[in-house]
């Protein structure tokens, strides 16, 4: 199920432009959406899920136009949505909650519905806790219930917004594996500001900043953005003034800083191999015109234009 977004703008009351002329194509498979808090990721998720109407622009999910009520309902029939702030009904057990959501998704047949709920409880390893009330569930357990409810109707489009925030490392790995297994012929849109989640599961990624697209390409291409711009600096003085400090670790004789900067931030700087986080930081966040060095906007459906700066 392909998603095509063109000229998408969403302005809230007070003139806040959460999305500003966004153009993006999301193919089938696992697709990552990165961006800082306030970049517009959640607004985009909500528009795709039919919760929020765009101010202008066009969004089609499969062949359905989400600007119409019929289109939104059609999308929601094939949608699994895990919102950033998952709210549950604490008085219900996990089984009852899933049963209820299944009914809301139109699964009226009792036998099939109960079988499906049982299957998903098994998938998210909650069979043993299925009949406990949700108020007694930990954050990780709730997230598992969340992903289970999203998968109930075997959706063609799965939208997960910040799914691993607050999970312990083991839960995060389990979550990512689950999502990746599900992807296959479906579209999974994973929105997060945890770069490692993208690195481990997605082949392609888009980066939003202030409501605009500033990168769209493969994970390797995003890493390449930082090639030749990542440095390791060991110093007992203050951190380097130029560039962005990615990490600071105690080291013999001072601190070891990992810095993303266009040029070596000092004589002690040594170039190191870039990672995805470095590539993300190397992007021009917050500049008025999203550009990749050519002065042209990022292409919504392909890799960025090659520039002399990248070489």
């Amino acid at each position: 199920m392909r998603i095509e977004i063109s000229g998408l703008t969403k302005t809230y009351r007070g003139g806040v432009a959460a999305l500003d002329g966004l153009d993006l194509v999301v193919p089938t498979g696992m697709f990552g959406l990165l961006g800082a808090n306030g970049a517009g990721k959640t607004t985009l998720m909500r528009i795709l899920a039919g919760l929020v109407r765009p101010t202008s622009g066009r969004v089609t999910v499969g062949e359905h136009d989400v600007s119409t009520a019929a289109g939104r309902t059609a999308v929601q029939r094939g949608l699994g949505y895990l919102p950033q702030d998952l709210g549950v009904y604490p008085d219900l057990t996990a089984r009852q909650f899933l049963d209820y959501v299944a009914l809301l998704k139109g699964m009226d047949g009792r036998t099939a519905r109960r079988r499906r709920v049982g299957e998903l409880l098994e998938v998210v390893a909650l069979t043993g806790d299925a009949d406990r009330r949700l108020r007694g569930f930990s954050g990780g357990m709730r997230q598992r219930v969340g992903i289970a409810q999203a998968l109930l109707a075997d959706p063609q489009l799965l939208i997960v917004d910040e799914p691993t925030a607050g999970l312990d490392p083991e839960e995060r790995i389990r979550f990512r594996t689950l999502l990746a297994q599900f992807a296959g012929r479906r579209t999974v849109l994973l929105s997060t500001h945890i770069v490692d989640d993208i690195a481990q599961t997605c082949r392609e990624v888009a980066v939003l900043s202030r409501g605009r697209l500033i990168f769209r390409g493969t994970v390797d291409e995003l890493i390449d953005r930082a090639r030749g711009r990542v440095w390791s600096v060991v110093t007992d003085g203050p951190p380097p003034a130029e560039g962005t400090v990615v990490s600071a670790l105690p080291h013999e004789g001072g601190m070891r800083y990992r810095v993303v900067a266009p040029a070596a931030p000092g004589p002690q700087a040594r170039p190191v191999e870039p990672g995805l986080e470095d590539g993300y930081l190397a992007l021009p966040h917050g500049e008025p015109r999203p550009a990749d060095g050519t002065g042209l906007p990022a292409r919504p459906d392909g890799p960025p234009h090659p520039t002399s700066v990248d070489r």
């Binding site: 899920a49 929020v52 309902t73 929601q76 709210g87 959501v101 009914l103 809301l104 139109g106 009792r110």
Partner: protein, 231 residues
């Protein structure tokens, strides 16, 4: 028709006030009737019918006003094919339905024990059911609409209780003119012009329909329902 299981879940979501409100209202009314130090049949009958006409609608109105704005899973609800406003209407129906069961059973007991006809303005055992049905549905719909507009059970409940109190404290004033008489909630037990009763009951039901339509239109804009506490 959706499965009964869905209706049972929505009954649960309607909350404790929807469940306890009507029986508590009836119990308080019966207690007030029993505590009447000058138990003339007419006065006691009036208090008993008053429990149905005044207390049950109040409880139901407040319960309906608290259906919107406190749903922890509202974002999930807005992303499923079942429209959320239909879900909320289902919860309101359950709330009104349960009030109807409690009030109907109480009325049946009053009719069977003879207390119903001891109030001269009782309008019979069948049409007389509008004694509780019209104000309950009217105030319930008003509460639901207030909740939909303000998305706050506090504001919706405050408006419903204020409306009820004004009609309770200033019965004569409210009924001075025809529009006020037509929308007066307690026309059976405190009606100024008994001849207007049928029109009054129908007007309350008409007002209820208008409130439901208003709520339905307002709730179409799902964006208003998302987000942190609005107040």
């Amino acid at each position: 028709m959706r499965p009964m299981t869905l209706w049972r879940y929505e009954a649960r979501r309607a909350g404790w006030t929807a469940l306890l409100g009507p029986p508590v209202a009836v119990a308080l009314g019966v207690a007030a009737a029993l505590a009447n130090p000058r138990p003339g049949d007419t006065t006691t009958a009036r208090i008993l019918l008053g429990a149905l006409e005044m207390a049950v609608p109040l409880a139901t109105g407040v319960a309906c006003a608290s259906l919107v704005g406190r749903d922890p899973a509202v974002e999930l609800q807005l992303a499923v094919p079942t429209p959320y406003r239909v879900t909320l209407l289902r919860r309101m129906t359950v709330t009104l339905g349960w009030a109807a069961v409690v009030a109907g059973l109480t009325a049946a007991v009053l009719i069977a024990t003879g207390w119903w006809e001891r109030w001269p303005a009782n309008h019979g055992p069948f049409a007389g059911q509008l004694t509780w049905a019209a104000p309950t549905i009217g105030l319930g719909a008003a509460g639901f609409a207030a909740g939909a507009v303000f998305r706050s059970p506090a504001a919706g409940g405050a408006l419903v209780t204020t409306l009820w109190t004004i009609q309770e404290f200033f019965a004569d004033l409210v009924q001075q003119h025809l529009p006020g008489r037509l929308l007066y909630l307690f026309a059976t037990t405190r009606g100024a012009v008994p001849g207007d009763w049928t029109e009054n009951r129908l007007a309350l039901l008409g007002a209820a329909a208008a409130f439901v339509v208003l709520a339905y239109v307002v709730l179409a804009r799902s964006e208003r329902l998302i987000g942190e506490e609005d107040e």
